[in-house]
Symmetry: C2
Subunit: 214 residues, 2 copies
DNA sequence: AACCGTGTCAAACATTTGCTTGATAAAACC
DNA sequence: GGTTTTATCAAGCAAATGTTTGACACGGTT
């Protein structure tokens, strides 16, 4: 969690964690608190006061560092986008990739939730600054699907891009449709046991439509 | 909560739509406006003033009829739940059912959106009054999948309940993941053309995993 | 015609929200 | 060591939000 960031110029200062003022650490505290709050309640539902409280810092520092709620949201999104990018090692076969994505909800549910919130708030291509980045990242997976299709394991009538979207949505179901799961499966959709079971089922589905791992 | 108040005595009154005061009509105006507003912005994002404006009635009437925002939300949910129930003719094969569900977004996008919002707000089985109703409705589909499985067209390792959830989530993707679609497919995820295409792809997926229509 | 219950409205209210201000002290600089 | 910069805080503000109040007029009853 705590990252004692070496300052840009070599400063002969006391050990950072003994400092009474540590901007980088504070920024990080705020960003983490923001991720928790925004992912829990969405943009409109998130409260600046709550974020400050979670971070254990003065509320005003949010304006100081990020220029208000909007700025904080954007900075936080960007940080998460990057973390997400680092998370997926390139070259992982799709079924496994999907299974991991479904499992992700256990260790940091913030990612899928933020994506889901932003989907419902989405108004058009203009207000999505991460579009290019996300596109780039998913393009590989689409290519992989297209390759499978050309190898004949996937019927020609399938649109690879749509298929990928459908599989992503399916893998996110524990996040987007917990009520339905609760109703249909009768179990707590957030419990580790179920999430693992569901992740396996996602992989089964992927295999079922012909995306065998090598 | 919602009580459609048939006038206790049969009144010999002028045509309702010429009346200057028409409680039933007003209720309906408010409920429709609420569905539009809540589905557009979610519960926290919805503004009582906006709902009143949409309905063309005084803001106070919302408290008068529904006892505030919370009450209105609940009444509106219940109404929509019922409408949804009437919409699905029993006995429709699953692939077609899914295709229609995916298409639904064209004619009344409110339904899927409300479901998605409520999923993200979901905290536990307690705060979901529609659970029983939804469960009953989906149980049939699970049974159908189980039957397909027993007929051997679906591998034993598949959990029918999970599969149904995944397929629902997939069918809702134009609602839940428009940003991703915009990025991956490069088209407007709300355009009629794409929605139809996507609905077909959902049906293709269903067929792909062995759920052939009779 | 007088009366009353109820549907409707305009205005105001208490609370919450995100943000700004002004002061203060810790660090960095020379 | 003295000065400047900057990280932090407490208090307060204007706008917005959901709700309450009080008035009033329509529609039916007597």
């Amino acid at each position: 969690m705590y990252n004692p960031r070496v300052p840009s110029k070599p400063r002969r200062s006391p050990k950072p964690h003994e400092r009474q003022r540590d901007p980088d650490h504070t920024r990080k505290l705020i960003l983490d608190a923001a991720a928790a709050e925004f992912s829990a309640h969405g943009y409109v539902g998130a409260r600046i006061r709550a974020i400050a409280a979670r971070a254990g810092v003065n509320q005003q520092l949010i304006s100081y560092y990020f220029d208000g709620k909007e700025g904080l949201y954007q900075a936080m999104s960007q940080q998460w986008q990057q973390r997400q990018r680092e998370l997926v090692p390139p070259g992982t076969p799709l079924p496994e990739q999907l299974r991991r994505y479904a499992l992700e909800v256990l260790h940091n549910p913030e990612g899928p939730r933020l994506l889901a919130w932003s989907g419902l708030q989405y108004t058009g291509p203009d207000d999505d600054p991460d579009r290019a980045s996300r596109t780039r990242q998913l393009a590989d997976s689409v290519d992989e699907l297209r390759a499978v299709q050309e190898s004949g394991r996937l019927p020609a009538e399938v649109d690879p891009a749509c298929l990928l979207v459908m599989l992503m949505a399916a893998a996110m179901a524990t996040t987007t449709l917990p009520q339905v799961i609760e109703g249909v499966c009768g179990t707590d959709p957030k419990s580790a046991g179920f999430v693992e079971h569901f992740a396996d089922q996602v992989a089964v589905l992927a295999r079922l439509i012909g995306l065998e791992p090598a």
